[in-house]
């Protein structure tokens, strides 16, 4: 394999590995810009993956699976909202609790329903999202450089991949060009300003969490019924936390979120590729080094070496009217 082929293959898997990160990080973006920290992204993704796999298997339709994933993710989001908005609980505690619930419940229910050690039965045909071959691939394949990129990176992905990339400008537009976006950004910075302007802080934050739920559902569905063909124990494997790191790394802005996710996806792809291979002069590099890089980069960022990351000012603080 020459170097260009390797490059194309790594790029292709970068895209595949970035998609759940992009959905999840955007999910976190809506929640956190509204002032609700969401450490429960991991749990939402996992629960949504499980629900999507179950429903896709039972119905034979990937779309129903997707809807199921979105549904359960919204439920998780609303529980988080009920704890942290309505009851003004601690957002971190609530998020962590939801992660535990998702991790435990998926295995228990999976085992009870399908008896395959927590896995769901494999999906075939319409029960999962198949790759879409874009027109002109055969023709383009012959073109040097651009051809392989088009055929292997741009074409041949499933519908959710394209939706993820569409969700980025859409999120930007919602956040910066609509009334909902203006209010959402305001409520994450100074909820009292929103309240005194005659807008309900709680309702606004619940609506933000609904968006978070929908996007979290997409992320989970992608894992179980697009990238894989079944639910596997703990298949989110920390991606929710990586997405959270990407969100911080991107300073809570939609377009940088996409690039941060692509970067972290790329590191993951390189880690997979490097498994068991040795670099000349250095020797075999432990794959954990690449896996740790997203966290290391985020820590460096938070320490203030790459600009300053300002989280939304009201983040993590339940809103209480002052006398």
């Amino acid at each position: 394999m020459d170097y260009f082929d390797i490059f194309v293959s790594i790029l292709g898997s970068t895209i595949r590995l970035s998609i759940p990160l992009i959905f999840t990080a955007l999910a976190g973006l809506f929640s956190e810009r509204a002032g609700i920290f969401d450490i429960g992204l991991e749990g939402k993704m996992l629960a949504a993956a499980f629900a999507a796999a179950c429903l896709a298997y039972l119905s034979g339709s990937a779309w129903i699976g997707l809807l199921g994933g979105i549904g359960i993710s919204i439920v998780f989001s609303l529980i988080h909202g009920f704890a942290s908005i309505t009851n003004r609980g601690n957002q971190i505690v609530s998020g962590v609790a939801l992660n535990f619930i998702a991790a435990g419940l998926t295995i228990v229910l999976g085992q009870a329903w399908f008896s395959q050690g927590g896995r769901t039965p494999g999906l075939t045909g319409d029960a999962r999202f198949a790759p879409i071959i874009l027109p002109g691939v055969d023709f383009m394949r012959e073109v040097p450089v651009i051809g392989p990129l088009y055929a292997n990176v741009i074409s041949g992905n499933n519908i959710l991949t394209y939706l993820a990339f569409a969700a980025v400008p859409l999120s930007w537009w919602i956040l910066y060009r609509t009334r909902f976006g203006l209010r959402l950004r305001a409520v994450g910075e100074n909820p009292a300003a929103v309240d005194t302007a005659g807008i309900s802080v709680a309702w606004l934050r619940y609506r933000a969490l609904l968006v978070t739920g929908v996007l979290g559902g997409f992320a989970g569905a992608y894992l179980a019924i697009a990238q894989s063909a079944a639910f596997i124990n703990n298949m989110s494997a920390g991606k929710g936390y990586i997405a959270l790191a990407a969100l911080i790394f991107a300073k809570w802005k939609p377009v940088p979120v996409m690039f941060a996710c692509l970067l972290f996806g790329f590191l993951d792809a390189v880690a997979n590729f490097m498994q068991g291979k040795s670099i000349p002069m250095i020797g075999e590099v432990p794959v954990q080094i690449f896996q740790a890089l997203p966290y290391v980069l985020t820590c460096i960022l938070l320490a203030g070496f790459i600009g300053i990351a300002h989280p939304p000012k009201a983040g993590g603080v339940p809103y209480v009217k002052e006398r």
Partner: protein, 521 residues
């Protein structure tokens, strides 16, 4: 084109209002309790249209509660609100806004990283998409600007504006929503004298254009300077309403407190002795590396009060913290009794005899969740009279606390009460008692009476003067120019981290104001 969701067209409304004979606001029998606290007792109030009406009272007198009821933050338990002669039920801020009431809060309700335009539009965007409303909002802002002299760049980001302008944005927000009645809650607390004058000019223009203004303040001078009528609240009751022209500062103070109050601090000539605290070429940078105190030098002698005047944020806080050992100076010297002390920690400085009453009692002076007696020894708890080794002698501490409570008239007189449950004035007395009763050699004080009511102010001021008369050195920082002028023997003014000049306390307010604004030296 005007955005379509803004309630009331101001112009049309104004014409209509002039024709109607009703008062702008009538409150009848407003009553409100929070649990056992009876915050508003049967309040009646009539505010004439096109007037500036002052509401004055001590902290906890119920002013803020009353205004919160008017703005829909709380609902009254009983009573009626009539706006423009019509009874209204104000359920939330939204109904207050659509009844033509606008509020300028003490702590601005602005989103700091938004532009002026975004802040003004928030809640009155004129449609689902922002693009539609923006052009209309710009035009409307321009109109308000020319009509009332409220010039602010609509594209400026709030956090980059000086506070005076931020406040103008708050006023613009209210006017943009068609407010006919403007409530201002302690509006001058954060302003320079020049900015306050500018605000008053704006308020007079607004009044002359037919707006009604409710001004809530505890500063008697402002009431006298700008209001047409004034109502006094005390312990949840409306005790009097006067025409401003027919009353005096003394009468109002007496009405507020319920007894005669000494507004002037009585003190004799200072008898300055030797230099006790000496600051030489002190420079302090904050955590971002910005120079906050820039090459500052001064001396404080025994038996004198040196006042540092200046608008908040001009380096006074950092200066105090550097002297108190909380912040490390970047360069320069601090000498106490000729000994260099820069860089020593606060515990060591206390042993040397430096007492510190910090600017912000909530963040630095007290642990609000502690009981009163715990706070009354905080920082001095290692002293042998409060315990031995790792153990505290709680009996001794409580007895000590009780003595201070009696001497400083701290209410309620209960050392076991959680500190958060004391009023601002009593909390401040806890801090003052702790620091002064230690009999230090010198005292540094920041904002001794911020958020403290008149009775307690009088008490704290007297203590400070007593310290001076006992030949202690006192360094006083306050943003209240009146306080600086009435207490200090000498005044230095800080602007942008530098000392811009020194004056005697009889220097005119205007001269000091110009120095505080960095215009004159």
């Amino acid at each position: 084109m005007r955005p379509n969701r803004i309630p009331n067209l101001p112009r049309i409304r104004k014409e209509r209002l002039r024709l109607t004979p009703h008062p702008a606001i009538e409150l009848a029998g407003i009553d409100k309790s929070f649990g056992a606290v009876h915050a508003n007792k049967n309040i009646n109030l009539t505010v004439a249209k096109g007037s500036i009406h002052g509401i004055i009272g001590e902290n906890g007198a119920g002013k803020s509660t009353l205004m919160s009821i008017l703005y829909g933050f709380y609902q009254a338990d009983r009573g009626e609100i009539r706006i423009d002669g019509k009874p209204v039920t104000i359920r939330d801020s939204q109904t207050a806004i659509s009844s033509g009431i606008g509020m300028v809060h003490q702590h601005f309700m602005l989103v700091e990283n938004f532009t002026v335009l975004e802040n003004v539009m928030l809640g009155a965007e004129g449609g689902q998409l922002l693009a539609k409303g923006v052009a209309g909002a710009r035009k409307e802002l321009k109109r308000l600007e020319t009509e009332y002299g409220l010039d602010v760049d609509p594209d400026a980001v709030i956090e980059e504006l000086p506070v005076g302008k931020q406040q103008r944005v708050e006023i613009l927000k209210a006017l943009y929503r068609g407010a006919e009645i403007l409530i201002l809650d302690e509006p001058t607390g954060v302003l320079t004298p020049a900015e306050a004058d500018h605000l008053f000019r704006i308020l007079k223009v607004l009044r002359d254009q037919g707006k009604t203004i409710l001004l809530i303040t505890h500063k008697l001078r402002e009431i006298m300077a700008i209001t047409d009528e004034v109502s006094v609240m005390r312990r949840g009751e409306m005790v009097a309403t006067r025409k401003t022209a027919e009353t005096t500062v003394e009468e109002l103070a007496e009405l507020m407190v319920g007894r005669r109050v000494l507004l002037r601090v009585e003190k004799g000539e200072a008898q300055p002795g030797k230099v006790l605290l000496s600051v030489k070429n002190l420079t302090v940078k904050d955590s971002r590396g910005v120079t906050m105190v820039d090459d500052v030098s001064f001396d404080v002698r025994e038996g004198e009060i040196l006042g540092i005047a200046g608008v908040a944020g001009n380096g006074q806080s950092e200066l105090l913290e550097a002297i108190a050992g909380i912040r490390k100076p970047t360069s320069g010297e601090i000498l106490i009794d000729g000994q260099p002390v820069a860089g020593l920690d606060p515990a060591r400085l206390r042993q040397i005899g430096l007492a510190h009453i910090p600017e912000d009692r909530h963040h630095m002076g007290l642990v609000l969740k502690f009981e009163e007696y715990e706070n009354s020894v905080l920082g001095y708890h290692r002293e042998p009279r409060y315990g031995r080794g790792a153990l505290l002698d709680l009996d001794a501490i409580r007895k000590d606390a009780e003595e201070k409570i009696a001497k400083y008239d701290i209410r309620p007189p209960n050392p076991r009460l959680k500190t958060a449950n004391f009023s601002g004035g009593n909390q401040q007395k806890i801090v003052v008692a702790r620091e002064i009763e230690r009999d230090p050699k010198m005292l540094i004080i920041g904002q001794p009476t911020r958020g403290v009511d008149i009775g307690a102010i009088e008490f704290i001021h007297r203590r400070i003067v007593e310290m001076r008369d006992a030949q202690k050195a006192v360094l006083l920082v306050s943003v209240e120019l009146d306080e600086i002028r009435s207490l200090s023997d000498r005044i230095i003014v800080m602007f942008a981290g530098k000392v811009v000049g020194e004056k005697t306390p009889d220097a005119g307010e205007q001269a000091l104001g110009l120095m505080m604004a960095g215009i004159a030296a």
